[in-house]
Symmetry: C2
């Protein structure tokens, strides 16, 4: 069985590199560090790599400071690649593929290209953190408090706080076991979900003040003129979650968030709740995405872009124009 | 064992009244309806009572429409009281105590006055929903999908989405079992936590625009002039959660929310994160509450009240006045 095979390698080999994808998130960082902390407890040499800037909010996890961006020519007996559907997701660290004797590929994306010497892909797992838990348990490892904090963070973030439908009864049972180690899960939850910067909070107030509602209260539009970023000392990514404030209005089916890039174009995010396929709207403007979350870039001023997108939404909604 | 004793009564008796506290919440409604749905499956007669207006957001739970506010003189073999520390929490429905042969008191408040003929109080349970689950399981009941939806709602809401420290490994194991019934937990979660009215969203934007920050970014103040309620067609309770936007700023220790009642006084909510005891600040103004959440009413205009509360916060914070 693959999980045992991986267990043997973790026991027999002595030097490892663990790497995960660009645009790191709670699952990639948490699963890397969960495995790292366990291997370190057994005296193994472990290097950690991510070819990107790391989100500061995960810096409370033990080992975070050991994650490096570049490999300066080191060789490894075993390379473990986590949460990567394909090797291009490694960025420049793809070069590590040629620097190790054996490659283990552990993932939960159904699209995984099985690029490893050993591949374990479980698309039913909520997160790679959940898989690392299973690997450690099946192979008799004790889950330390440090490791539990990392794996809890993995699972918490990839399930959106145990909300998304990828959460299973297995997920809840694993979390039950993880919190039995005595971790302060309540504190971790707050650190990750109940925290905004001052700039973000100011920006949220200004963006919410732009709220407009259309088509029988089914469509909510928020806009962000680029000058607001300067006014609040904020960056565009500070506004990532704001689209949810439009989508979450109880009567709304489609939330629209128009971010002015410059005088000539805007980036548009779209979210839907139950029945509108927003990827169709986005693809009409050469954008892309999923049924419930999509995006595109449209030329024009905020008000021009708003008119264009509202016309497109209207066609899909097939509702009477009310405003 | 008390849980078995309760099980025998649920099987032997045929007519029940289930009642819970005024200011109903997800746990009181969810645990009532969870027990209701199971008893109805076994052909029992069950009346449901709450002496208050019910929060509409729980109306998707099966049986919700059967909850009545008044008892017009009916008698019951068994009265089951849920989630009530003492009988005064029943409001006018206290009269039911004299209308039944036996009273079962099921609760998780450590302060419970044990007013029943049979009392089961487990202060380690996250919620009464968790206790109802245990009663049903121990007594061999199958948990139906309808019951699971109700108990999931109980647990979800009383743990703040599995965030509060009252969540235990038992809680997670129970939720694992509940979602195995195939309930759409993701949809329930969204209905309860990801929904605001249009009025609330507008009001949030206006309130966030009042954000001020003091004492080395440790204190954030939001204000709500009463005219904003009219402007947004909103009610004061629509702003209940807004204090969290002040508290959740990463540098902030104390969040303050000043709601203008009229020209002469304001209601003040206080929240802290790690070390300030806000109940001390509130009690200085004859208010009350807990270490991390408290409130008071202070005479004066918004700006007068702000100055008073900032002075008091300053004393507790013992930080240098920076603004």
């Amino acid at each position: 069985m693959v999980l045992n095979k991986i267990g043997h390698i973790l026991k027999d080999y002595n030097d490892f590199a663990i790497v995960s994808h660009v645009s790191p998130d709670g699952d990639s960082i948490g699963s890397m560090l969960g495995l790292f902390n366990t291997l370190k407890d057994f005296g193994k040499s472990v290097d950690l790599f991510v070819d990107d800037i790391l989100p500061e909010k995960y810096s409370f996890l033990t080992g975070f400071e050991h994650i490096k961006r570049y490999n300066t020519g080191s060789k490894y007996s075993c390379l473990i690649i986590l949460d990567c559907g394909d090797v291009d997701r490694l960025g420049e660290l793809k070069s590590l593929l040629n620097s190790s004797d054996i490659i283990i590929n552990i993932d939960h994306h159904i699209s995984n290209t099985l690029f490893g010497d050993i591949n374990y892909v479980d698309s039913n797992a909520s997160s790679v953190g959940e898989i690392i838990y299973q690997i450690l348990k099946i192979n008799g490892y004790n889950i330390s408090k440090n490791t539990a904090m990392c794996l809890y963070t993995s699972i918490l973030t990839d399930t959106g706080g145990f909300k998304y439908s990828n959460t299973t009864s297995m997920t809840f049972n694993i979390v039950a076991d993880l919190i039995n180690t005595g971790i302060n899960f309540s504190d971790i939850y707050s650190k990750i979900y109940d925290s905004r910067t001052l700039s973000q909070t100011k920006l949220l107030g200004k963006v919410l003040s732009t709220l407009e509602i259309y088509y029988d209260n089914k469509v909510a539009v928020l806009t962000m003129p680029y000058k607001l970023l300067d006014e609040c000392n904020a960056k565009e990514k500070d506004a990532d979650e704001f689209i949810n404030f439009a989508r979450n209005i109880d009567t709304v089916e489609v939330g629209v968030f128009i971010k002015e890039v410059n005088d000539l174009k805007c980036r548009v995010s779209l979210r839907s709740k139950n029945y509108v396929d927003v990827s169709k709207i986005a693809s009409y403007f050469s954008g892309g995405g999923h049924i419930r979350a999509a995006g595109c870039t449209i030329e024009g001023s905020i008000s021009e872009v708003k008119n264009k997108i509202l016309d497109a939404v209207k066609t899909v909604l097939e509702v009477k124009y009310n405003k």
